[in-house]
Symmetry: C2
Subunit: 207 residues, 2 copies
DNA sequence: GACCTATACTGAACATTGTTTAATACATTG
DNA sequence: CAATGTATTAAACAATGTTCAGTATAGGTC
C-alpha cells in the first residue's frame, strides 16, 4: 500500500533525472545558452508542456543541473598524495591539478561559478567569513597552508582570508584562460607556472 | 557636392549612436539580458526593423556597446599621484581604486570582461605575450612594479607575466565580489585589504 | 466489473523574442 | 520631372518560455 506511493515517487524522480540528463547532454553539446525546453522535450520524447509538471521552469532545471555539476567537480578534490614530501611541491601540484581540471571542463566551471541564483550560490559562495568550514576547496587550501612550518601557528580566520585570496586568484586566472581561449598553449603554461611560483613566494613570506 | 555624402554619413552615425545610447540606457536600467531590439526601437521612436539598417543584429549592438564601455572604464586609469612616495602605498592605492571603480560599475565590468566576441576581446584580452604594449592597465602595473628597487633590473617579459598574474588575481576577486553580492561590507573590505597585503608581500620577495 | 479520482500527458494557444522582406515614402540626382 | 537610391514601416516568420483545457490512464472503491 505504501510502496505504491514509493514507486510513484521513484518514477517521478526518474523522470526528473531523465529531464536533467537530456538537458545536460544539450548543454554539453551546444552550450547553456542554446538549451531550450523544446529540445529537452524532443530528446526525452515527450511534449514540451510535461516538463512543467516536474520543474517550475527552465531556470529551475538549470539550477539543478549546475548544482549537480558542482558536486561532481568538487568530488574530485583532494591533495596530491604525499609522495612529494615538500609542502611547496604538494601545494603546486594540487593547485595545478585543480586549475587544469577546471580548464578541461570548458565552460562548465564558468557557468557554475558565475551563476547568481541563491540555490546555486548556496553551494558555490566562498568569500563569506567561515566559508572554510563548508567548502572543501577552502579547507583543503588551509590544510596545505598549514603544512608550511611558518604557518602552523596562524589563526584560522587569517588563513581563511589567505585561502580565499589564493582561491580567487586561481578563479580569475581560470576564467581569463577560458575567455581568452585562443591563447597559445605555451603562454597558458607560462602563466599557470608563474601563478604557482608567485603564490608560493607569497605563502613563504607571509608575516 | 561631397559634403552631402558627409552629411548623410553624419546622420547615419547619429542614428547609430542614438541606437547605442538607447541600448545603453536599457542595459543600465534592466541589465544586459533584458535588452531587446523592440525596447530600443520604442525608445528611439522607430519601428524595430529599422535597426537592422544600422547594425547587423543585436549581437553587433552589444559588442559596440561593450567596446565603448570598455574605453570609458580604461580612460580613468592612471597611477595615484605621487604624494605617497613609497612604492607600496602607491601600488596599494592604485589597485584599490581600480578594484573599487570596477565594483561600483556593477555588472558592467563583468559583462565587458567576460564577452567572448573577437571584436570585444581585441580590446580586453590581456594574457597574450606582449599584451603590456597594448594594454594601459598592464603597462601601468609594470611601471608600478619597476618603482620597487628590487625590480628595476628585471626583464620586461618577466614583469609582464607578473603583471598578468596580479591582474588576473584582481579580476578574480572583483568577479567573485560581484557574484557574491550579499557579502557584508566589512568582509568585502577585509578581502580587498588582504589581497593587497599578500600581493605586496609577493612583489617584495620576487626572486 | 462499474465507477471515481488523481495523476500523466498532449495539443494548441499566447506572449515575447530576433530577424527578414515586400511595400512605401522620401530625398537626391540627372 | 523622371529616375534612382535610401529610410522606414508593417507584417510576417521562426523560435522561444509558459499556460491551460482537455484527454487518457492507472489505481483504488463500491
Amino acid at each position: 500500500m505504501t510502496n505504491r506511493y514509493e514507486r510513484q515517487e521513484r518514477e517521478r524522480d526518474e523522470m526528473r533525472q531523465a529531464i536533467l540528463d537530456a538537458a545536460g547532454l544539450i548543454v554539453a553539446e551546444e552550450g547553456l545558452k542554446r538549451l531550450s525546453i523544446r529540445k529537452i522535450a524532443e530528446r526525452i520524447e515527450y511534449s514540451p508542456g510535461i516538463i512543467y509538471h516536474y520543474f517550475a521552469g527552465k531556470e529551475a532545471i538549470i539550477e539543478q543541473l549546475l548544482r549537480q555539476g558542482y558536486l561532481e567537480m568538487v568530488s574530485g578534490l583532494d591533495a596530491v598524495s604525499a609522495m612529494e614530501s615538500q609542502p611547496e611541491a604538494i601545494f603546486a601540484q594540487t593547485m595545478r591539478r585543480f586549475i587544469e581540471t577546471s580548464l578541461a571542463d570548458g565552460v562548465r566551471y564558468r557557468d557554475i561559478m558565475l551563476n547568481e541564483s541563491p540555490s546555486v550560490l548556496s553551494h558555490t559562495a566562498v568569500l563569506f567569513s567561515g566559508a572554510a568550514s563548508q567548502r572543501e576547496a577552502l579547507a583543503l587550501l588551509i590544510r596545505l597552508l598549514r603544512s608550511f612550518d611558518r604557518l602552523k601557528e596562524k589563526q584560522d580566520d587569517e588563513l581563511e582570508l589567505t585561502a580565499q585570496v589564493i582561491w580567487s586568484g586561481a578563479f580569475g586566472l581560470i576564467l581569463r584562460l577560458t575567455v581568452e581561449k585562443d591563447l597559445p598553449a605555451a603562454q597558458k603554461e607560462r602563466l599557470i607556472r608563474h601563478y604557482l611560483e608567485t603564490t608560493l613566494i607569497m605563502i613563504k613570506h607571509l608575516e
